[in-house]
Symmetry: C2
Subunit: 313 residues, 2 copies
Protein backbone atom coordinates (compact mmCIF):
# COMPACT_ATOMS: atom_id res chain seq x y z
CA UNK A 1 0.00 0.00 0.00
CA UNK A 2 1.51 3.40 -0.91
CA UNK A 3 2.56 5.46 2.10
CA UNK A 4 2.29 8.78 0.32
CA UNK A 5 -0.74 10.79 -0.63
CA UNK A 6 -1.73 10.93 -4.28
CA UNK A 7 -2.79 14.14 -6.04
CA UNK A 8 -5.71 16.13 -4.53
CA UNK A 9 -9.25 15.45 -5.78
CA UNK A 10 -10.61 17.65 -8.51
CA UNK A 11 -14.01 17.98 -6.81
CA UNK A 12 -14.52 17.82 -3.04
CA UNK A 13 -16.67 15.02 -1.56
CA UNK A 14 -18.31 17.19 1.09
CA UNK A 15 -19.55 20.74 1.07
CA UNK A 16 -19.06 21.32 4.76
CA UNK A 17 -17.11 18.84 6.89
CA UNK A 18 -17.49 19.24 10.66
CA UNK A 19 -14.89 17.65 12.93
CA UNK A 20 -15.71 17.29 16.61
CA UNK A 21 -12.43 16.97 18.52
CA UNK A 22 -9.15 18.29 17.13
CA UNK A 23 -6.67 15.93 18.76
CA UNK A 24 -4.28 13.57 17.02
CA UNK A 25 -6.96 12.04 14.81
CA UNK A 26 -9.22 15.06 14.26
CA UNK A 27 -6.33 17.36 13.39
CA UNK A 28 -4.82 14.76 11.06
CA UNK A 29 -8.15 14.48 9.23
CA UNK A 30 -8.33 18.28 9.02
CA UNK A 31 -4.86 18.44 7.48
CA UNK A 32 -5.39 15.53 5.10
CA UNK A 33 -8.86 16.66 3.98
CA UNK A 34 -7.56 20.15 3.27
CA UNK A 35 -4.49 18.94 1.42
CA UNK A 36 -6.49 16.43 -0.64
CA UNK A 37 -9.41 18.77 -1.36
CA UNK A 38 -11.96 16.45 0.23
CA UNK A 39 -14.25 19.20 1.52
CA UNK A 40 -15.03 22.72 0.39
CA UNK A 41 -15.17 23.96 3.95
CA UNK A 42 -13.89 22.49 7.20
CA UNK A 43 -15.37 23.54 10.53
CA UNK A 44 -14.60 22.09 13.94
CA UNK A 45 -15.57 21.98 17.59
CA UNK A 46 -13.49 21.12 20.62
CA UNK A 47 -14.39 21.38 24.29
CA UNK A 48 -10.83 22.34 25.21
CA UNK A 49 -10.13 26.09 24.97
CA UNK A 50 -6.38 25.57 24.58
CA UNK A 51 -6.95 23.20 21.70
CA UNK A 52 -9.28 25.70 20.04
CA UNK A 53 -6.74 28.49 20.42
CA UNK A 54 -4.00 26.32 18.97
CA UNK A 55 -6.26 25.23 16.09
CA UNK A 56 -6.97 28.85 15.21
CA UNK A 57 -3.29 29.66 15.41
CA UNK A 58 -2.23 26.98 12.96
CA UNK A 59 -5.34 27.33 10.82
CA UNK A 60 -6.62 23.78 11.14
CA UNK A 61 -10.19 24.68 10.18
CA UNK A 62 -12.14 27.56 8.65
CA UNK A 63 -14.02 28.10 11.92
CA UNK A 64 -13.54 26.56 15.33
CA UNK A 65 -16.39 26.47 17.85
CA UNK A 66 -16.74 25.61 21.53
CA UNK A 67 -20.21 24.25 20.94
CA UNK A 68 -20.74 21.02 19.05
CA UNK A 69 -24.09 22.13 17.58
CA UNK A 70 -22.49 25.24 16.08
CA UNK A 71 -20.06 23.08 14.14
CA UNK A 72 -22.61 20.46 13.10
CA UNK A 73 -25.19 22.99 11.85
CA UNK A 74 -25.37 22.90 8.08
CA UNK A 75 -22.66 20.24 7.71
CA UNK A 76 -23.20 17.42 5.23
CA UNK A 77 -20.66 15.30 7.12
CA UNK A 78 -19.86 15.32 10.83
CA UNK A 79 -17.03 13.14 12.18
CA UNK A 80 -16.69 12.56 15.91
CA UNK A 81 -13.00 12.49 16.84
CA UNK A 82 -13.42 12.39 20.60
CA UNK A 83 -12.77 9.59 23.12
CA UNK A 84 -15.17 6.69 22.69
CA UNK A 85 -17.07 7.48 25.88
CA UNK A 86 -17.83 11.03 24.67
CA UNK A 87 -19.50 9.96 21.40
CA UNK A 88 -22.99 9.44 22.87
CA UNK A 89 -23.14 12.82 24.62
CA UNK A 90 -21.75 14.60 21.55
CA UNK A 91 -24.38 12.98 19.32
CA UNK A 92 -27.06 14.10 21.74
CA UNK A 93 -25.72 17.67 21.74
CA UNK A 94 -26.00 17.98 17.99
CA UNK A 95 -29.25 16.09 17.37
CA UNK A 96 -31.35 19.23 16.91
CA UNK A 97 -29.20 20.65 14.12
CA UNK A 98 -28.57 17.54 12.01
CA UNK A 99 -30.34 17.58 8.67
CA UNK A 100 -31.76 14.50 6.90
CA UNK A 101 -29.21 13.17 4.42
CA UNK A 102 -26.26 14.36 6.47
CA UNK A 103 -23.63 11.74 7.24
CA UNK A 104 -22.47 11.20 10.80
CA UNK A 105 -19.29 9.22 11.33
CA UNK A 106 -16.68 8.72 14.04
CA UNK A 107 -13.14 7.37 14.41
CA UNK A 108 -13.51 5.49 17.70
CA UNK A 109 -11.30 2.50 18.40
CA UNK A 110 -14.38 0.56 19.52
CA UNK A 111 -17.41 0.23 17.27
CA UNK A 112 -20.22 -1.73 18.97
CA UNK A 113 -20.51 0.52 22.01
CA UNK A 114 -20.18 3.70 19.95
CA UNK A 115 -22.97 2.61 17.62
CA UNK A 116 -25.21 1.75 20.56
CA UNK A 117 -24.50 5.12 22.18
CA UNK A 118 -24.84 7.29 19.07
CA UNK A 119 -27.69 5.76 17.03
CA UNK A 120 -30.54 6.59 19.43
CA UNK A 121 -29.73 10.30 19.14
CA UNK A 122 -29.70 10.55 15.36
CA UNK A 123 -32.80 12.03 13.66
CA UNK A 124 -34.53 10.08 10.91
CA UNK A 125 -32.73 10.27 7.58
CA UNK A 126 -29.27 10.93 9.02
CA UNK A 127 -26.81 8.33 7.71
CA UNK A 128 -24.50 6.86 10.34
CA UNK A 129 -21.29 5.36 8.94
CA UNK A 130 -18.99 4.46 11.85
CA UNK A 131 -15.29 4.29 10.99
CA UNK A 132 -12.01 3.36 12.62
CA UNK A 133 -8.69 4.33 11.05
CA UNK A 134 -6.15 1.73 12.17
CA UNK A 135 -3.36 4.26 12.40
CA UNK A 136 -2.03 6.30 15.24
CA UNK A 137 0.84 7.11 17.51
CA UNK A 138 1.31 7.36 21.25
CA UNK A 139 1.03 11.17 21.09
CA UNK A 140 -2.15 13.22 21.30
CA UNK A 141 -3.37 16.76 20.75
CA UNK A 142 -3.59 19.02 17.67
CA UNK A 143 0.19 19.33 17.22
CA UNK A 144 0.65 15.57 17.07
CA UNK A 145 -1.41 15.23 13.91
CA UNK A 146 -0.10 15.20 10.34
CA UNK A 147 -1.64 14.79 6.92
CA UNK A 148 -0.09 11.42 6.00
CA UNK A 149 -1.07 9.59 9.19
CA UNK A 150 -3.63 7.47 7.35
CA UNK A 151 -1.69 6.87 4.14
CA UNK A 152 -0.89 3.21 3.62
CA UNK A 153 -3.06 2.21 6.59
CA UNK A 154 -6.45 0.54 6.83
CA UNK A 155 -9.71 2.24 7.68
CA UNK A 156 -12.56 -0.01 8.81
CA UNK A 157 -16.20 1.00 8.23
CA UNK A 158 -18.97 -0.71 10.20
CA UNK A 159 -22.29 0.64 8.84
CA UNK A 160 -25.45 -0.91 10.22
CA UNK A 161 -27.99 -2.68 8.01
CA UNK A 162 -30.13 -0.22 6.09
CA UNK A 163 -27.68 2.65 5.80
CA UNK A 164 -27.78 4.20 2.32
CA UNK A 165 -25.13 2.76 0.01
CA UNK A 166 -24.30 6.21 -1.29
CA UNK A 167 -23.35 7.42 2.19
CA UNK A 168 -21.08 4.42 2.69
CA UNK A 169 -19.44 5.00 -0.69
CA UNK A 170 -18.81 8.66 0.08
CA UNK A 171 -17.12 7.73 3.35
CA UNK A 172 -15.08 5.13 1.50
CA UNK A 173 -14.00 7.76 -1.02
CA UNK A 174 -13.17 10.10 1.86
CA UNK A 175 -10.80 7.62 3.55
CA UNK A 176 -9.31 6.56 0.24
CA UNK A 177 -8.72 10.23 -0.45
CA UNK A 178 -6.55 10.32 2.69
CA UNK A 179 -4.54 7.36 1.40
CA UNK A 180 -6.21 4.56 3.34
CA UNK A 181 -7.48 1.23 2.11
CA UNK A 182 -11.04 0.62 3.25
CA UNK A 183 -12.58 -2.56 4.60
CA UNK A 184 -16.18 -3.03 5.66
CA UNK A 185 -17.08 -5.42 8.46
CA UNK A 186 -19.61 -5.83 11.24
CA UNK A 187 -19.08 -3.95 14.49
CA UNK A 188 -18.80 -7.11 16.64
CA UNK A 189 -16.18 -8.57 14.33
CA UNK A 190 -14.28 -5.29 14.36
CA UNK A 191 -14.26 -5.29 18.14
CA UNK A 192 -12.88 -8.82 18.28
CA UNK A 193 -10.16 -8.15 15.70
CA UNK A 194 -9.08 -4.95 17.42
CA UNK A 195 -9.17 -6.57 20.85
CA UNK A 196 -6.30 -8.85 19.78
CA UNK A 197 -4.41 -6.48 17.46
CA UNK A 198 -4.62 -3.37 19.60
CA UNK A 199 -6.53 -3.42 22.88
CA UNK A 200 -4.93 -6.41 24.60
CA UNK A 201 -1.44 -5.36 23.43
CA UNK A 202 -2.01 -1.97 25.06
CA UNK A 203 -3.36 -3.59 28.21
CA UNK A 204 -0.35 -5.83 28.69
CA UNK A 205 2.04 -3.00 27.88
CA UNK A 206 0.42 -0.78 30.52
CA UNK A 207 0.44 -3.73 32.88
CA UNK A 208 4.11 -4.63 32.63
CA UNK A 209 5.18 -1.03 33.01
CA UNK A 210 3.05 -0.91 36.15
CA UNK A 211 4.54 -4.15 37.45
CA UNK A 212 8.07 -2.87 36.88
CA UNK A 213 7.32 0.41 38.63
CA UNK A 214 6.09 -1.38 41.75
CA UNK A 215 8.95 -3.80 42.33
CA UNK A 216 10.87 -3.58 45.56
CA UNK A 217 13.88 -5.65 44.53
CA UNK A 218 14.57 -3.61 41.41
CA UNK A 219 14.70 0.18 41.62
CA UNK A 220 12.90 2.49 39.24
CA UNK A 221 16.24 3.91 38.18
CA UNK A 222 17.44 0.42 37.22
CA UNK A 223 14.29 -0.20 35.22
CA UNK A 224 14.94 3.02 33.31
CA UNK A 225 18.67 2.48 32.81
CA UNK A 226 18.38 -1.07 31.56
CA UNK A 227 15.23 -0.61 29.51
CA UNK A 228 17.01 -1.08 26.17
CA UNK A 229 16.65 -4.85 26.50
CA UNK A 230 13.01 -4.74 25.35
CA UNK A 231 11.09 -2.93 28.09
CA UNK A 232 11.41 0.51 26.47
CA UNK A 233 9.20 -0.57 23.54
CA UNK A 234 6.40 -1.32 25.98
CA UNK A 235 6.76 2.06 27.66
CA UNK A 236 6.22 3.72 24.31
CA UNK A 237 2.82 2.03 23.98
CA UNK A 238 2.09 2.63 27.66
CA UNK A 239 2.58 6.37 27.08
CA UNK A 240 -0.67 6.55 25.10
CA UNK A 241 -3.52 8.77 26.24
CA UNK A 242 -5.09 7.53 29.52
CA UNK A 243 -8.60 8.84 28.79
CA UNK A 244 -8.77 7.36 25.33
CA UNK A 245 -7.61 3.98 26.59
CA UNK A 246 -9.80 3.91 29.68
CA UNK A 247 -12.75 4.42 27.33
CA UNK A 248 -11.58 1.71 24.95
CA UNK A 249 -11.38 -0.92 27.71
CA UNK A 250 -14.67 0.04 29.33
CA UNK A 251 -16.41 -0.03 25.97
CA UNK A 252 -14.94 -3.24 24.56
CA UNK A 253 -15.03 -5.21 27.77
CA UNK A 254 -16.34 -8.49 26.49
CA UNK A 255 -13.97 -8.95 23.56
CA UNK A 256 -10.98 -7.70 25.58
CA UNK A 257 -11.67 -10.06 28.47
CA UNK A 258 -12.22 -12.94 26.05
CA UNK A 259 -8.92 -12.34 24.24
CA UNK A 260 -7.13 -11.78 27.53
CA UNK A 261 -8.34 -15.18 28.64
CA UNK A 262 -6.75 -16.82 25.58
CA UNK A 263 -3.56 -14.86 26.15
CA UNK A 264 -3.46 -16.09 29.76
CA UNK A 265 -3.97 -19.70 28.81
CA UNK A 266 -1.15 -19.52 26.30
CA UNK A 267 1.07 -17.78 28.82
CA UNK A 268 0.46 -20.50 31.39
CA UNK A 269 1.53 -23.08 28.83
CA UNK A 270 4.70 -21.09 28.11
CA UNK A 271 5.48 -20.77 31.80
CA UNK A 272 5.04 -24.52 32.12
CA UNK A 273 7.48 -25.09 29.22
CA UNK A 274 10.05 -22.95 31.02
CA UNK A 275 9.47 -24.73 34.32
CA UNK A 276 9.85 -28.15 32.68
CA UNK A 277 12.94 -27.22 30.64
CA UNK A 278 10.99 -27.84 27.46
CA UNK A 279 13.27 -25.95 25.09
CA UNK A 280 11.64 -27.46 22.01
CA UNK A 281 8.25 -25.91 22.74
CA UNK A 282 9.88 -22.54 23.32
CA UNK A 283 11.97 -22.72 20.16
CA UNK A 284 8.98 -23.81 18.08
CA UNK A 285 6.84 -20.86 19.24
CA UNK A 286 9.70 -18.36 18.85
CA UNK A 287 10.18 -19.57 15.28
CA UNK A 288 6.47 -19.53 14.41
CA UNK A 289 6.02 -15.91 15.50
CA UNK A 290 8.52 -14.73 12.89
CA UNK A 291 6.14 -15.60 10.04
CA UNK A 292 3.60 -13.06 11.30
CA UNK A 293 6.32 -10.43 11.53
CA UNK A 294 7.35 -11.09 7.93
CA UNK A 295 3.72 -10.69 6.85
CA UNK A 296 3.46 -7.33 8.56
CA UNK A 297 6.65 -6.02 6.99
CA UNK A 298 5.77 -7.31 3.52
CA UNK A 299 2.30 -5.73 3.75
CA UNK A 300 3.94 -2.40 4.59
CA UNK A 301 2.45 -2.14 8.08
CA UNK A 302 5.88 -1.67 9.69
CA UNK A 303 9.35 -0.66 8.55
CA UNK A 304 11.76 -3.59 8.18
CA UNK A 305 14.77 -1.76 9.67
CA UNK A 306 15.62 -2.88 13.20
CA UNK A 307 14.91 -0.50 16.06
CA UNK A 308 17.84 0.74 18.12
CA UNK A 309 15.87 3.27 20.12
CA UNK A 310 17.48 6.08 18.12
CA UNK A 311 18.10 7.11 14.54
CA UNK A 312 20.80 4.93 12.98
CA UNK A 313 24.09 6.62 12.30
Amino acid sequence: MPERLGPPREAPIFRRLALVGLGLIGSSIARAARRQNLATEIVAADSNAEVRARAEEIGLADRVYADVADAARGADCVILCVPVGACGPVAKAMRSVLEPGAIVSDVGSVKGAVMAAVEPHLPEGVQFVPAHPVAGTEDSGPDAGFSTLFAGRWAILTPAYGVEADAVERMRAFWEGMGSAVEIMSAPHHDLVLAITSHVPHLIAYNIVGTAADLEEVTRSEVIKFSAGGFRDFTRIAASDPTMWRDVFLNNKEAVLEMLQRFNEDLSALARAIRWDDGETLHALFTRTRAIRRGIVSEGQDAPAPDFGRPRE
Copy 2:
Protein backbone atom coordinates in the same frame (compact mmCIF):
# COMPACT_ATOMS: atom_id res chain seq x y z
CA MET B 1 24.83 9.47 27.72
CA PRO B 2 26.50 10.29 24.38
CA GLU B 3 25.34 8.07 21.53
CA ARG B 4 28.44 8.56 19.44
CA LEU B 5 31.88 7.08 19.82
CA GLY B 6 34.67 9.31 21.06
CA PRO B 7 38.18 9.35 19.52
CA PRO B 8 40.07 6.03 19.36
CA ARG B 9 42.43 5.10 22.21
CA GLU B 10 46.10 5.93 21.85
CA ALA B 11 47.19 2.56 23.23
CA PRO B 12 45.16 -0.64 22.87
CA ILE B 13 43.90 -2.41 26.02
CA PHE B 14 44.51 -5.93 24.73
CA ARG B 15 47.27 -7.44 22.68
CA ARG B 16 45.12 -10.16 21.18
CA LEU B 17 41.37 -10.14 21.53
CA ALA B 18 39.56 -13.38 20.69
CA LEU B 19 35.85 -13.30 19.94
CA VAL B 20 33.93 -16.56 19.95
CA GLY B 21 30.76 -16.08 17.90
CA LEU B 22 30.50 -13.37 15.22
CA GLY B 23 26.78 -12.68 15.28
CA LEU B 24 25.07 -9.40 16.10
CA ILE B 25 27.00 -8.87 19.32
CA GLY B 26 30.36 -10.44 18.38
CA SER B 27 30.55 -8.62 15.07
CA SER B 28 29.57 -5.32 16.71
CA ILE B 29 32.37 -5.76 19.24
CA ALA B 30 34.79 -6.57 16.41
CA ARG B 31 33.82 -3.40 14.58
CA ALA B 32 33.86 -1.17 17.65
CA ALA B 33 37.13 -2.57 19.02
CA ARG B 34 38.85 -2.07 15.67
CA ARG B 35 37.49 1.44 15.20
CA GLN B 36 38.40 2.46 18.76
CA ASN B 37 41.82 0.78 18.77
CA LEU B 38 40.98 -1.40 21.77
CA ALA B 39 43.11 -4.37 20.68
CA THR B 40 46.26 -4.75 18.61
CA GLU B 41 44.95 -7.89 17.00
CA ILE B 42 41.45 -9.35 16.73
CA VAL B 43 40.92 -13.05 16.10
CA ALA B 44 37.65 -14.93 16.08
CA ALA B 45 35.98 -18.33 15.99
CA ASP B 46 32.52 -19.28 14.82
CA SER B 47 31.02 -22.74 14.40
CA ASN B 48 29.00 -21.61 11.38
CA ALA B 49 30.92 -21.87 8.07
CA GLU B 50 28.73 -19.28 6.37
CA VAL B 51 29.37 -16.81 9.16
CA ARG B 52 33.14 -17.44 8.90
CA ALA B 53 33.07 -16.89 5.14
CA ARG B 54 31.12 -13.67 5.53
CA ALA B 55 33.47 -12.49 8.31
CA GLU B 56 36.50 -13.04 6.05
CA GLU B 57 34.75 -11.24 3.23
CA ILE B 58 34.05 -8.10 5.22
CA GLY B 59 37.28 -8.31 7.20
CA LEU B 60 35.75 -8.51 10.66
CA ALA B 61 38.87 -10.03 12.24
CA ASP B 62 42.52 -10.61 11.43
CA ARG B 63 41.97 -14.38 11.45
CA VAL B 64 38.80 -16.43 11.68
CA TYR B 65 38.86 -20.04 12.90
CA ALA B 66 36.41 -22.90 13.03
CA ASP B 67 37.94 -24.16 16.25
CA VAL B 68 37.49 -22.24 19.47
CA ALA B 69 40.89 -23.30 20.87
CA ASP B 70 42.66 -21.91 17.79
CA ALA B 71 41.18 -18.49 18.46
CA ALA B 72 41.73 -18.55 22.22
CA ARG B 73 45.36 -19.65 22.01
CA GLY B 74 47.65 -16.78 22.95
CA ALA B 75 44.81 -14.32 23.53
CA ASP B 76 44.94 -12.04 26.56
CA CYS B 77 41.18 -11.56 26.36
CA VAL B 78 38.54 -14.00 25.12
CA ILE B 79 34.90 -12.91 24.89
CA LEU B 80 32.17 -15.49 24.38
CA CYS B 81 29.49 -14.06 22.08
CA VAL B 82 27.43 -17.22 21.65
CA PRO B 83 23.98 -18.15 22.94
CA VAL B 84 23.91 -18.53 26.71
CA GLY B 85 23.56 -22.33 26.56
CA ALA B 86 26.75 -22.64 24.46
CA CYS B 87 29.01 -20.81 26.94
CA GLY B 88 29.83 -23.86 29.12
CA PRO B 89 30.83 -26.11 26.18
CA VAL B 90 32.88 -23.31 24.60
CA ALA B 91 34.75 -22.71 27.86
CA LYS B 92 35.50 -26.42 28.07
CA ALA B 93 36.78 -26.46 24.48
CA MET B 94 39.35 -23.76 25.17
CA ARG B 95 40.45 -24.72 28.69
CA SER B 96 43.71 -26.31 27.55
CA VAL B 97 44.95 -23.23 25.72
CA LEU B 98 44.08 -20.50 28.24
CA GLU B 99 47.06 -18.93 29.94
CA PRO B 100 47.12 -17.65 33.54
CA GLY B 101 46.41 -13.91 33.58
CA ALA B 102 44.19 -14.09 30.52
CA ILE B 103 40.74 -12.55 30.86
CA VAL B 104 37.67 -14.53 29.88
CA SER B 105 34.42 -12.65 29.45
CA ASP B 106 31.05 -13.14 27.76
CA VAL B 107 28.05 -11.08 26.68
CA GLY B 108 25.23 -13.42 27.70
CA SER B 109 21.84 -11.99 28.61
CA VAL B 110 21.81 -14.21 31.71
CA LYS B 111 24.66 -14.13 34.21
CA GLY B 112 24.11 -16.63 37.05
CA ALA B 113 23.77 -19.70 34.84
CA VAL B 114 26.64 -18.64 32.57
CA MET B 115 28.97 -18.18 35.53
CA ALA B 116 27.99 -21.57 36.91
CA ALA B 117 28.59 -23.21 33.52
CA VAL B 118 31.88 -21.48 32.66
CA GLU B 119 33.81 -21.19 35.95
CA PRO B 120 34.49 -24.92 36.47
CA HIS B 121 36.33 -25.06 33.14
CA LEU B 122 38.70 -22.16 33.69
CA PRO B 123 42.30 -22.96 34.70
CA GLU B 124 43.78 -21.36 37.83
CA GLY B 125 44.84 -17.75 37.29
CA VAL B 126 42.41 -17.03 34.45
CA GLN B 127 40.29 -13.99 35.30
CA PHE B 128 36.59 -14.36 34.57
CA VAL B 129 34.73 -11.06 34.15
CA PRO B 130 31.19 -11.78 32.90
CA ALA B 131 29.52 -8.94 31.06
CA HIS B 132 26.16 -8.09 29.52
CA PRO B 133 25.76 -5.16 27.14
CA VAL B 134 22.17 -3.96 27.47
CA ALA B 135 21.92 -3.13 23.80
CA GLY B 136 20.65 -5.03 20.84
CA THR B 137 18.15 -5.34 18.05
CA GLU B 138 15.84 -8.06 16.81
CA ASP B 139 18.30 -8.96 14.04
CA SER B 140 21.15 -11.41 14.26
CA GLY B 141 24.20 -12.51 12.31
CA PRO B 142 27.44 -10.75 11.28
CA ASP B 143 25.74 -8.29 8.93
CA ALA B 144 23.40 -7.03 11.64
CA GLY B 145 26.26 -5.68 13.76
CA PHE B 146 27.60 -2.12 13.75
CA SER B 147 30.25 -0.25 15.67
CA THR B 148 27.97 2.14 17.59
CA LEU B 149 25.58 -0.50 18.94
CA PHE B 150 26.89 -0.06 22.48
CA ALA B 151 27.34 3.72 22.48
CA GLY B 152 25.07 5.43 24.98
CA ARG B 153 23.97 2.07 26.42
CA TRP B 154 24.80 0.31 29.68
CA ALA B 155 27.13 -2.65 30.08
CA ILE B 156 26.77 -4.65 33.27
CA LEU B 157 29.75 -6.54 34.73
CA THR B 158 29.16 -9.30 37.29
CA PRO B 159 32.62 -10.47 38.44
CA ALA B 160 32.70 -13.04 41.25
CA TYR B 161 34.42 -12.36 44.57
CA GLY B 162 38.19 -12.67 44.28
CA VAL B 163 38.63 -11.70 40.65
CA GLU B 164 41.64 -9.40 40.22
CA ALA B 165 40.66 -5.73 40.27
CA ASP B 166 42.96 -5.02 37.34
CA ALA B 167 41.06 -7.47 35.12
CA VAL B 168 37.75 -5.85 36.05
CA GLU B 169 39.17 -2.38 35.32
CA ARG B 170 40.45 -3.47 31.93
CA MET B 171 37.03 -4.83 31.00
CA ARG B 172 35.47 -1.60 32.22
CA ALA B 173 37.85 0.39 30.04
CA PHE B 174 37.04 -1.91 27.13
CA TRP B 175 33.28 -1.29 27.34
CA GLU B 176 33.78 2.41 27.99
CA GLY B 177 35.97 2.45 24.90
CA MET B 178 32.94 1.24 22.92
CA GLY B 179 30.86 4.09 24.33
CA SER B 180 29.04 2.25 27.10
CA ALA B 181 28.56 3.25 30.71
CA VAL B 182 29.55 0.43 33.03
CA GLU B 183 27.78 -0.79 36.15
CA ILE B 184 28.94 -3.60 38.42
CA MET B 185 26.42 -5.76 40.23
CA SER B 186 25.97 -9.31 41.47
CA ALA B 187 24.83 -11.96 39.01
CA PRO B 188 21.59 -12.75 40.89
CA HIS B 189 20.62 -9.09 40.98
CA HIS B 190 21.41 -8.77 37.27
CA ASP B 191 19.18 -11.72 36.50
CA LEU B 192 16.28 -10.21 38.44
CA VAL B 193 16.64 -6.77 36.84
CA LEU B 194 16.85 -8.21 33.33
CA ALA B 195 13.95 -10.59 33.97
CA ILE B 196 11.65 -7.58 34.28
CA THR B 197 13.31 -5.21 31.79
CA SER B 198 13.96 -7.71 29.04
CA HIS B 199 13.09 -11.37 29.53
CA VAL B 200 9.43 -11.11 30.59
CA PRO B 201 8.75 -8.41 27.95
CA HIS B 202 10.08 -10.79 25.30
CA LEU B 203 8.05 -13.67 26.73
CA ILE B 204 4.77 -11.79 26.60
CA ALA B 205 5.52 -10.43 23.14
CA TYR B 206 6.18 -13.94 21.83
CA ASN B 207 3.07 -15.10 23.64
CA ILE B 208 0.61 -12.58 22.24
CA VAL B 209 1.86 -13.08 18.72
CA GLY B 210 1.31 -16.81 19.24
CA THR B 211 -2.18 -16.22 20.64
CA ALA B 212 -3.10 -14.03 17.68
CA ALA B 213 -1.80 -16.58 15.19
CA ASP B 214 -3.96 -19.33 16.68
CA LEU B 215 -7.33 -17.58 16.77
CA GLU B 216 -10.17 -19.05 14.81
CA GLU B 217 -12.48 -16.01 14.87
CA VAL B 218 -9.84 -13.65 13.51
CA THR B 219 -7.84 -14.61 10.43
CA ARG B 220 -4.09 -14.32 10.17
CA SER B 221 -4.54 -11.90 7.31
CA GLU B 222 -6.68 -9.64 9.52
CA VAL B 223 -4.08 -9.76 12.26
CA ILE B 224 -1.46 -8.63 9.77
CA LYS B 225 -3.59 -5.96 8.08
CA PHE B 226 -4.75 -4.33 11.28
CA SER B 227 -1.50 -4.64 13.20
CA ALA B 228 -0.81 -0.89 13.21
CA GLY B 229 -2.98 -0.49 16.30
CA GLY B 230 -0.20 -1.70 18.58
CA PHE B 231 0.33 -5.37 17.73
CA ARG B 232 3.09 -4.71 15.18
CA ASP B 233 5.44 -3.45 17.93
CA PHE B 234 5.14 -6.80 19.67
CA THR B 235 5.90 -8.69 16.47
CA ARG B 236 9.15 -6.77 16.17
CA ILE B 237 10.28 -8.08 19.55
CA ALA B 238 8.88 -11.52 18.76
CA ALA B 239 11.10 -11.65 15.66
CA SER B 240 14.21 -12.01 17.84
CA ASP B 241 16.44 -15.06 17.53
CA PRO B 242 14.68 -18.25 18.76
CA THR B 243 17.84 -20.02 19.93
CA MET B 244 19.13 -17.05 21.89
CA TRP B 245 15.77 -16.59 23.62
CA ARG B 246 15.16 -20.26 24.33
CA ASP B 247 18.50 -20.26 26.13
CA VAL B 248 17.66 -17.10 28.05
CA PHE B 249 14.43 -18.52 29.44
CA LEU B 250 15.88 -21.92 30.29
CA ASN B 251 18.82 -20.28 32.04
CA ASN B 252 16.96 -17.60 33.98
CA LYS B 253 14.00 -19.71 34.93
CA GLU B 254 13.59 -18.71 38.53
CA ALA B 255 13.70 -14.94 38.08
CA VAL B 256 11.54 -15.07 34.94
CA LEU B 257 8.86 -17.19 36.62
CA GLU B 258 8.93 -14.95 39.68
CA MET B 259 8.48 -11.75 37.63
CA LEU B 260 5.85 -13.42 35.48
CA GLN B 261 3.93 -14.21 38.64
CA ARG B 262 3.88 -10.51 39.61
CA PHE B 263 2.86 -9.58 36.07
CA ASN B 264 -0.03 -12.05 36.25
CA GLU B 265 -1.27 -10.78 39.58
CA ASP B 266 -1.30 -7.22 38.28
CA LEU B 267 -3.03 -8.32 35.09
CA SER B 268 -5.77 -10.04 37.08
CA ALA B 269 -6.36 -6.83 38.99
CA LEU B 270 -6.59 -4.89 35.71
CA ALA B 271 -9.02 -7.41 34.24
CA ARG B 272 -11.12 -7.04 37.38
CA ALA B 273 -11.13 -3.25 36.98
CA ILE B 274 -12.41 -3.67 33.42
CA ARG B 275 -15.05 -6.18 34.49
CA TRP B 276 -16.26 -3.88 37.27
CA ASP B 277 -16.27 -0.72 35.13
CA ASP B 278 -13.67 0.80 37.42
CA GLY B 279 -12.46 3.56 35.09
CA GLU B 280 -10.60 5.35 37.84
CA THR B 281 -8.22 2.47 38.49
CA LEU B 282 -7.54 2.18 34.76
CA HIS B 283 -6.97 5.90 34.31
CA ALA B 284 -4.68 6.04 37.34
CA LEU B 285 -2.45 3.23 36.07
CA PHE B 286 -2.39 4.61 32.52
CA THR B 287 -1.25 7.95 33.91
CA ARG B 288 1.37 6.49 36.24
CA THR B 289 3.09 4.55 33.45
CA ARG B 290 3.89 7.77 31.59
CA ALA B 291 6.41 8.82 34.25
CA ILE B 292 8.58 5.77 33.51
CA ARG B 293 8.43 6.56 29.80
CA ARG B 294 9.59 10.12 30.45
CA GLY B 295 12.51 8.78 32.50
CA ILE B 296 13.60 6.52 29.66
CA VAL B 297 13.46 9.29 27.09
CA SER B 298 15.26 11.79 29.32
CA GLU B 299 18.01 9.25 30.08
CA GLY B 300 18.52 8.77 26.34
CA GLN B 301 17.45 5.10 26.29
CA ASP B 302 14.84 5.75 23.60
CA ALA B 303 14.11 8.41 21.00
CA PRO B 304 11.26 10.77 21.95
CA ALA B 305 9.74 10.93 18.45
CA PRO B 306 6.54 8.91 18.08
CA ASP B 307 6.64 5.71 16.06
CA PHE B 308 4.50 5.48 12.93
CA GLY B 309 5.91 2.21 11.70
CA ARG B 310 7.80 4.06 8.99
CA PRO B 311 10.17 6.97 8.54
CA ARG B 312 8.29 10.25 8.99
CA GLU B 313 7.79 12.31 5.88
